[in-house]
Amino acid sequence: MQTLIIACGALAREVLALIELNGWQHMELSCLPADLHLRPEKIPDAVEAAVEAARGRYEQIFVAYADCGTGGLLKARCDALGVDMISGPHCYSFFEGNEAFTARGEVTSFYLTDFLARQFDAFVWRPMGLDKHPELRDMYFGNYEKLVYLAQTEDESLTAAATLAAQKLGLKFERRFTGYGDLSSSLGALPH
């Protein structure tokens, strides 16, 4: 069944890796800009536009987003559009596995994924103005205790980047290998 995956740009590498790994030749990927996460209220409209633009050209469309700060609005929109999406609050949760993530109940951890470790400056440091005003760091991160790097791949350079990010934020560092977690099972469960 010809399937389009409409994904957050922060998941592009991971979705492509899964397609290649599993030989899912029936899947195509279309990404929305990852920086929509800076304005999550814009995600439902952007997803709807992408779904409508692709409608009719695929037998199946799947939205590779979790709730991602939309407060249930993305789920409601996907339901109205008749397309499925990934369960869970955000990618940190579904990479670790939604059940495991919830069970941890971590409140004071700041998370990075492979994408965010790679793009820390562009998606965290600079948008928060910390490149120009490092004195703001503790206003943002003073209540966090550790940075948890949820690693999708074994990549020493990303672990080094995440370690450096933790140092810049003044947080303890922990690395957890998650692999692709519920992203893999969600895509794998789609009818072929």
Partner: protein
């Protein structure tokens, strides 16, 4: 900044120009300049309350409008808030000595599971600036903390804040517990935070959703006035 502005001597400005300059300096997050200007106005025998309202609160109100309109972003607002905090640090002890209108008392904190307190801190500061006494419970508050503080402090207003969509439903837990205890209507309940909206505020049984610090102040004043009229 131009050389001309570098050479600006605050003490040589008229009161009116100095207050306008303070609005600019707050906008630019210039804490040292705000500190200096507050001291100059005190030396000119301004009442601390007037300095607070006419320079700092008004300056932050302008910052709030431009934040709402997408002209300023969070880093700039934080810098402005830091500058206001510096000015308030000088004025706070003096306000207690010289007296200032007390509009009411608010208990505020982020909900259980949520440690993001930037918005809550801005609201607390603006509420204090507007003449409310603020009891700040900090972060990650379970329902008992809110209810104990409301009773202990004989507060008028409960303010709850959440940044995460996973923690915002806890506001309903607090409100439902207040209902169970028969104390819900004893307090004005205001809620806020980036993922919230008016619909959510209504659905959980709050009195109002406040989209930013300035709106919180106005909403709190309005509810306190209504309450006063009922007495």
């Amino acid at each position: 900044m131009s050389d001309e502005e570098d050479d600006l001597i605050l003490d040589e400005l008229s009161d009116e120009d100095l207050v306008l300059q303070m609005h600019d300096d707050l906008y630019d997050g210039m804490a040292d300049e705000i500190d200096e200007a507050v001291r100059i106005l005190l030396k000119r025998n301004w009442l601390p309350y007037d300095i607070l309202t006419k320079s700092l609160v008004e300056g932050m109100r302008i910052v709030g409008i431009d934040f709402r309109d997408g002209i300023l972003f969070v880093p700039e607002v934080l810098l402005a808030a830091g500058a206001m905090k510096k000015g308030m640090g000088i004025l706070k002890p003096l306000l207690i000595e010289t007296g200032a209108p007390q509009l009411g008392k608010m208990v505020i904190g982020t909900v259980k599971g949520d440690i993001h307190d930037i918005g809550k801190n801005l609201v607390a500061m603006m509420m204090e600036g507007a003449g409310f006494e603020v009891i700040d419970l900090g972060i990650n508050n379970p329902v008992e903390d809110y209810i104990d503080a409301l009773k202990r402090e004989n507060a008028d207003i409960l303010g709850m804040s959440a940044l995460l969509t996973t923690t915002m439903p806890y506001m309903k837990v607090v409100i439902d517990t207040m209902k169970e205890q028969g104390i819900r209507d004893d307090y004005i309940v205001l809620v806020g935070g980036a993922p919230l909206n008016e619909e959510f505020g209504k659905a959980i049984g709050s009195d109002a959703y406040c989209r930013d610090a300035a709106v919180t102040v106005e909403t709190a004043k309005e509810f306190m006035a209504r309450r006063h009229n009922q007495l």
